[in-house]
Every structure is written in structure tokens, then in C-alpha cells.
């Protein structure tokens, strides 16, 4: 396919590369050759492009699932994949990628479903309301909660630190070279839902939000600070498997009221609880048969998810092994997800 473009460069080069003293006829013949080559290339392009390309899609016994970056959601995929393969006889291909690319892949049918979504308003506007290529597939059953957290050893020492009104009093505790004369607030991964900058400004807090980079580096940073018993204030969320190894206490923000987060610049209240959602490619939802039905039924609790996540993150199993172990021990739960015959 790419030949035409290069052909151009070649002929261009040949033309400009000619020596002025060249006798006329040779230039002439070269020009003819150039024209011929260009025509040939054009013909090739026309022939190869005469049919419109296929746009995605796959055969019906294969299901493509998104494997997200964090362990909690990874085990959703692992358990669903295990059941799809062993109970319903599908072939499952899992694709690991970032969330935004995953949404795009889902709209193109290269990923059939996303099983845990914390809210992507921009993508929902683009693909759900916009070109209608993605449809909701119900709730996962797990409720996500985002908030500001401090380590427990700090809260034990200064019990009143867990109220946002007292944060300014303790700003000095959180000072680092990066934050200068303000307290340091550690932010989460750039792709996660957050309005920390607005919160800090609107609540009049003497803190500087610091980007910790990706989720992995954010976690590494917290782990390191926790191990060394340093004070820190961070964006944090549950369910999160690392809660099994670090003990964090939530800082109370002004309570969430319906609509108080409508204007992103004026937010001055806590994060809402998020019932995590599932999404599907629209065509898959219609024609996916048992697999689509099963994924719509897939529904478990925070405790169940955390248990499997712990198998992976703390006990060192692979996601597949963890899924297998859980499936063997919890038949009653997943039987209900299988499509009714």
C-alpha cells in the first residue's frame, strides 16, 4: 500500500539529481519513465483500494476483554475470562492497555467489553451519546470510593488531622522540598477522576498538589513513605488491594451533595461514591449471544473482588490461578451469572 508515496520521492530525487549538462533526450526518457512509474503506482493504489476495508469485528466464538492496569479490575477480567472459557466454551483474548485507548478500541469493536469503569464523562459523551458505538452493560456491584487519606500512624498521633478544617494547622508536617513552604498533597495517576486542585483552592488550603506520575510510581512513593513512617496526604481510593498492606485513614471533606461537583472549577465537597460500571460494544451487546448475556450478569461484591485481588497481589498467584481458585470455591455465586437455558 505504501509504495505510491515512496515512488514520488524516488522520482523527485531522480529529477532533481540530474546534472544540467545531461543531453536532452536522456532527460526526456527519464521523464517518461517517471510518468510511467507514477501511473503504475497510481494504478496499483486504485486496484488495491477498490474495495472498502473491513472495519474491525471478529468471529463470534472469540471474546475480547480489556485488562486494565490495576489488580482489582484485572481480576474481574480474569474471572470472567475463566468462566467464559471453561463454562461457556468461548475463546477469550485479553488486551492490556490504558483506559482511554481501551474505550476507543471498544467503540471500534476491537475490545468487546470493559468490566470496571470509574467514570469517563468525555468518552461517554463521545461514544455512548455521540456515535452510539458503546452501550452500558450494568453495574459491577463494587462501589468505588475516592478521597483524601493520611497514614494511620499519623492519625493516631494527631487525631484531629482527619478533619479538613485542621489541615492548614498541620501543613508544616507535610512540607517537602518539592512543595516549598506549603504542605505537599500527592496526586494520583493523570487518567483518574480527580478535582484535587480545585478542592485545595476552594477550601483555602495551604497545600501544593504534586503530580506523582503514573499509578505505579504513586504507589511506589506511598509504600516508600509508609515504610519509613513519614507523614503524607494523598489522593487514594477503595477498593484497592494495597489497603491490605498499608493502613490509611480518610480525611473528612465537606459532605457530598447531589450536583456539588457539577462545575469542576467550583468543587468544594467530597468525592461521591461511584457504583462501578460495565460497558460493551453496541454490536457485541446485540449479537454477542451467551457471552454478552453472561458479561451483563457478571456482578460481585467489593469483598469478593478484594479477595481475588489479594490472591494476586499479596499471595503471588497469576491472575488465572487466582480466578481458578475463586471459581472452584464459589460456585453458587457465579452459577447465577450463566445465561438461562
Amino acid at each position: 500500500m505504501s509504495t505510491p508515496a515512496y515512488e514520488d520521492h524516488r522520482t523527485d530525487a531522480a529529477r532533481t539529481g540530474r546534472v544540467p549538462s545531461d543531453p536532452r533526450p536522456r532527460t526526456r526518457s527519464r521523464r517518461t519513465r517517471t510518468a510511467l512509474a507514477a501511473a503504475g503506482a497510481l494504478a496499483l493504489l486504485t486496484v488495491s483500494a477498490c474495495g472498502a476495508a473491513k472495519t474491525g469485528g471478529g468471529d463470534s466464538r472469540t471474546v475480547n476483554l480489556h485488562t486494565p492496569s490495576w489488580v482489582g479490575a484485572e481480576v474481574n477480567t480474569a474471572v470472567a475470562a475463566y468462566l467464559l472459557e471453561h463454562e461457556l466454551g468461548y475463546e477469550v483474548r485479553t488486551r492490556q492497555m490504558d483506559e482511554t485507548p481501551a474505550w476507543d478500541a471498544m467503540s471500534q469493536g476491537k475490545v468487546d467489553a470493559i468490566l470496571e469503569d470509574w467514570g469517563h464523562p468525555q468518552e461517554e459523551k463521545r461514544y455512548v451519546q455521540g456515535n452510539k458505538s458503546v452501550v452500558p452493560a450494568g453495574e459491577l456491584g463494587v462501589t468505588g470510593h475516592i478521597g483524601w487519606f493520611v497514614p494511620k500512624y499519623l492519625a493516631d498521633q494527631k487525631p484531629d488531622i482527619t478533619d479538613y478544617r485542621n489541615l492548614n494547622k498541620y501543613a508544616d508536617l507535610f512540607r517537602t522540598p518539592e512543595s516549598g513552604d506549603k504542605g505537599q498533597f500527592i496526586k494520583g495517576d493523570p487518567s483518574y477522576v480527580s478535582y484535587d486542585n480545585a478542592l485545595i483552592k476552594n477550601l483555602g488550603l495551604n497545600y501544593k498538589p504534586i503530580e506523582a506520575g503514573a499509578e505505579a510510581t504513586h504507589l511506589a512513593q506511598l509504600e516508600q513513605l509508609y515504610k519509613n513512617k513519614k507523614p503524607f496526604l494523598t489522593y487514594w481510593w477503595t477498593p484497592q488491594w494495597m489497603n491490605a498492606t498499608v493502613d490509611l485513614v480518610e480525611v473528612e471533606l465537606p459532605p457530598y451533595k447531589e450536583g456539588c461537583d457539577a462545575d469542576e472549577k467550583a468543587v468544594a465537597c467530597a468525592y461521591p461514591d461511584v457504583p462501578l460500571k460495565k460497558w460493551m460494544n453496541a454490536d457485541f451487546a446485540k449479537e454477542g449471544g451467551d457471552a454478552a448475556e453472561f458479561l451483563k450478569n457478571f456482578h460481585w461484591t467489593t469483598e469478593q473482588q478484594n479477595l481475588v485481588a489479594k490472591y494476586v497481589a499479596a499471595d503471588g498467584m497469576t491472575a488465572e490461578q487466582a480466578a481458578e481458585k475463586w471459581v472452584k470455591e464459589n460456585e453458587a455465586t457465579w452459577k447465577a451469572w450463566l445465561p438461562k437455558k
Binding site: 500500500m1 505504501s2 515512496y6 524516488r10 523527485d12 530525487a13 532533481t16 539529481g17 540530474r18 536522456r26 488495491s48 483500494a49 472498502a52 476495508a53 473491513k54 472495519t55 474491525g56 492496569s69 490495576w70 489488580v71 488486551r95 492490556q96 492497555m97 490504558d98 482511554t100 485507548p101 481501551a102 474505550w103 476507543d104 478500541a105 471500534q108 476491537k110 475490545v111 468518552e123 463521545r126 461514544y127 455521540g130 456515535n131 517537602t176 522540598p177 518539592e178 516549598g180 500527592i186 495517576d189 493523570p190 487518567s191 504534586i210 503530580e211 506523582a212 506520575g213 503514573a214 505505579a216 510510581t217 504507589l219 511506589a220 512513593q221 509504600e223 516508600q224 513513605l225 519509613n228
Partner: protein
Amino acid sequence: MSAATTSRPPVGGDSTRAPAAVTGRRPAWRPTRPATPLVLLVLAALLPTAALLADGGWPQALSLDLAPGLDTFADWVVDNRETHPVFLYFLLHLSNAATDSVAWVHDLLTATGWAGVLTVATALAWYAGGAGRRGAGPALVALGSLAGCGLLGLWEQATETLALMLVSVAVACVAGLLLGLAGGLSDTAQRILRPVLDTMQVLPSFAYLLPLVLVFGIGTPSALITTVIYAAPPMVRMTTLGLRGADPAVLEASRSLGATGLQRLWSARLPMARPQLFLGLNQTVMMALSMVVIASVVGAGGLGESVYQALRTRDFGHGLTAGLAIVLIAVWLDRTTAAAGARGGVPVGRRGTGIALVASGAGLLLGPNLGDWPEAVTVDIAAPLNSAVDWLVGAVYQDVPVLGGTSVWAGNITSWVLNPLNNGLQALPWWSLLLLVGAVAWLVGTWRGALTAVLALAATGVLGIWSKALYTLSQVLVAVALTLVLGFAIGILAARVRAVERLLRPVFDAMQTLPQFIYLIPVVQLFNAGRVAAITAAAVYALPAVVRVTTQGLKQVSPATMEVSRSLGATTWQQIRDVQWPLARPALLVAANQGVVLVLAVVVIGGLVGGGALGFDVVKGLTAGELGTGLVAGAGIVCLGLALDKLTQPADRTPSADLRH
């Protein structure tokens, strides 16, 4: 080994520059310049005054917000990509062809089996090395590296990566050759190509991943195209260089024998350019391999995915294991292509060819029957690696007697170097900073260079990212300074003590080929997330090239000169300072320039560990789906690169001098 290492620094753009700058020739005329001390004095007086009297920063009125427009474009692509003819009849064909070809190569590799791939690769390396005893080295390296991948338990992932790499290198080479032909034969094409190639290499690939995903879809197509964009430039540059370096006498002879242009190209110019073509291939392979992890960000799979997954779970050991497999593949391909280039076109002979063919055939027959790599023949090095790193971090993080520990250093650098530098830059009014950059670029190089530098820096203001650009600039400056100090020190040592050089070589090879994602976690654990972590990651990446160029430059000083200075009673230190240093100056300038380019290349990686500003915005653009943010920040990095390049580029470079070999 030697051919391989000279070809190493995997950032192109510069492989062509090094010889030019080293042989540098002063042009006959240059516009008169004011005396250096005078300019510096004026600036020293002017800048603080300006900072005091005027407001810092870039005026809002002179900036332009491109982000909304770019986001609208993204929406348009999403809405139209399944119906618009440009997609249906052109782009989707490209996308499907990419997927199919990589899948085909992967199926082929899987069907051949590990034994088949091993024998064919070994036979090919042996043949490329010139068969017989000369081919033994490359053949052994090929065998060892590939077996190593299996031994690490990553054979399957390695074949996936290999399939993507083979296809992208093939595409990059064809594209590179054709563009290189254009650049080699036509001055106009050459002039147009140069800035394009520079941009292709400095623009962070994270910045264009999202548009590629929107247009070509997730997975193989985007991964392939990203890799090709990044890996093709060295092939273009080396082809151009090879064609332009052809001996005019030979060309004249072939013309007088009546050869047409095409015949001359085919029978004289291309064969003479053979060493450069192979060097270009070698560089292209290396650069393609450095994209393995980035490719997995958009779902390409293979070894990159293993590295990425290990980063997510903060499993350093598994990340390094997968990284080592990438290094092994790099070593194998490096030695094979370097050997093919070094052979210099000597034919192998019928016997060697026959043996290679028979061996490959036997491998192909045997391979499919042996199945997967046996699980019993693998070693797990992840666990010991993890405990080693944990121990190291625990030992040096804090409370180290006298020295303080890495977290203390990081704090000090932030408080005493980074913060003042950043505050100073932010306090300067925009025009005074442009004046400073222009003056310094003029003193270092030409007035043309100065103009480019000023325009590039001004462009960041116009794009509305002035303050962020300065924030990033302060980090880049510190990282470059750190790299140069360390690099020159190690370089001097390596040039003097052969054992040190020999010891460092494999370490540096690995440092340059290992994906940076692997050491992000230890870097954060040691220095805390923030700018110092970002600077450290950049220095680790840029150091090897700086050391290499420094060592080479110092060693090029003729032994006779050294002997004379010694007999005149110079001490070692005097020898370094008064003889080697001045004589090696051009090479050292190249080292500085390399340092700048390489540090800028990993600004985005810095964004992942808390560097903030432009690098972070590029990451955010991709992960949060903000096309505008990512592209504008990427353009900002290119602008910074352009400005810094002019600030570190010695004067004696005319466009034609660039391509002299």
C-alpha cells in the same frame, strides 16, 4: 565488537553530526560578533534589572490555544472513521495490512518453533559475518542471545516482539532507503527532510500515540507506525550520507563509460554506500527495539507488555527480566547487522552459503516438531533481583552516616538548585529571556542558529505553555549539567584506563537498550517522586553516549602528541588539561549536544515519575484522552529541543559540512 560499539548511541541525528563537527572547518566569513565578555556583562546587568522592573512570564495576548481545535478534530475522526472514504479506502487498508503482516510473521515464527528460529538466526548471523571462522562470533552471539530469551522463560513473548520488530524494521528500511535516496540525490529534498527527521526523533512518541490510535486503531497498526516513525530517520540519514560521500572520481569514471543515472546509482553509488547502509540498518534496529515498551502502551503485546505489567505491579525483578530479553534481542541483531556491514561486501563463497542453507533447512524441518520451549529449562531471576533492590533502597534511602542518603540529596538538589533556577527563569520577562537565548546562541554558533533558537523558544510562549516550558527547561538544564559532569569524569577515566572502558562497555550497552520503564520504580523509591527522580532517569539514559563520545574524543588525540608532552615533563593532570582537553574540544561539544538531545528524549519518562510540566502533559494527553494537551506539550518539547540544540552547537557547521564524512 568494535564496529558494534561505534555504531551504538541509538539516537540518530547525531551519528551524522559527529564526524562533521570533529573535522570541523572554519568558514571563511562570518558576521562580526560582539566580544563575549562585553555581551555577558551587558546581560548580567540587564537581566536582574528586567526581572525586578517587569513582570515575568509570557503575555496572554500573544498566545494561542490550539487544544480545543485539536480536540474537535479528534471528535471528527471518531465520528467519521467508519464512513469517510479516506478511512475506508486508504487508512483502514493500511491498518489491516499492518495487522495481517505482523500476525503472519508471528504465525511463521511460532510454526517454525524455537529450534527452527534458533538455527536459522545462527546460520544467518554466521553467513552475515562472512562464514568460516569470521562468522563464528556473530553466530555464537545469536545462539546465546536467543537461547537466553528462552532460558528466561520468555520465548513466547520474544517471538511476539520479534514479529512486530521484523515488520517495522522492514518497513522503516524501505521507507528510509527511498527517502534517503531522495535526500542523497537532491539538495532540495535534503533541505526539506532534515527538519522533518529532527522532529520525528525529538517529538515524544507518547504525543502521537493517541492520534494514531484514533486513526488506525489499537494494537499492531498504531504500534507499527509509531515504531517506524521513530526508527526510520537513521536509515534516511545514513543512506543520504553514503550517497553523498561517494568518491567523485569513481562516479566520473562510470559516467565516462556511458552509464545512465540509474546505472550509476545501481552499480557505483549504492555499492560504495554499503557500509553506511548497514550502519543505518543497525541503528534502525536499535531504535525500533527501544520502542518495544511504548508499543505495548497501545496494546501491542510481547516483551513490552511484560515490562509494562511488571511496572504496574511494581515488580522490578520481572520487569528487568523482560528488559534483559529485549537487551538480548538487541545484542543479537546488533552484532549480526554490524558484522554484515563490517564484512565490506566480500562474497561468502558457495561453500559457506551451502552450509548456511543446509543448516537452516535442517532447523526448519526439526523445529516444528519440538513444540514449545521446555519449561524445565528456564531460570527465575526475578525474586533475587527484587530482594537485591529492596536491600539497596533500604541501605541508601536515608540515615546514611555522613553522606545523608538519597532522599536527603534529592531534597537538597530540589531546594538549592532546581527551585532557584526555576524561580529565576519564571521571574524573567519573556523578552529578556529571548534576548539571553539569542545572545548565547550567537556567541556559540551562528546568527542563523540564534534566530532559530529565539523563534523556537518564542513558539512555546505562543502555544500558551511558556511557564511549563521553563519548568521543564530548568530540569533539562540540571540533568544535562549532571550528565556532562559525570560523563566527562567517567570518560576521562575510561580513556586513561583500558580496564575501566572494558568493564563499562557491557553496562552501558545494557543501560542504553533497557527500557527506561524498568528503573522508574527504584528511582522513585530512592529519590521520591518529583523532579530529582525525573532528572536521575534522564541522566541514566544520557550518560552512556556522553561517556562514549568523550572517551573516543580523548583517545583520538595522537599518541605522538601525548608522548611529546610527557617527555616535556607534563604530569597526568596537565596532560589532560592542556593537551587532550583542548585537542578533543570538538568531540566534547558533540558530547554536550548528545547529552541535550538524549535528556530531552526522556522528558516524558520524567513526567511518569513526577517531573511535571511538559512531560507530564504528554503522558496525560495519552492516558486521559486529551489530544490537544498531549500534542501541544509534545510540540513544546520539540521547540525546547531546537533551542537547546542551537545553544550547544559549535559554529563551524554549514549545511554541506553536515554531510561530509
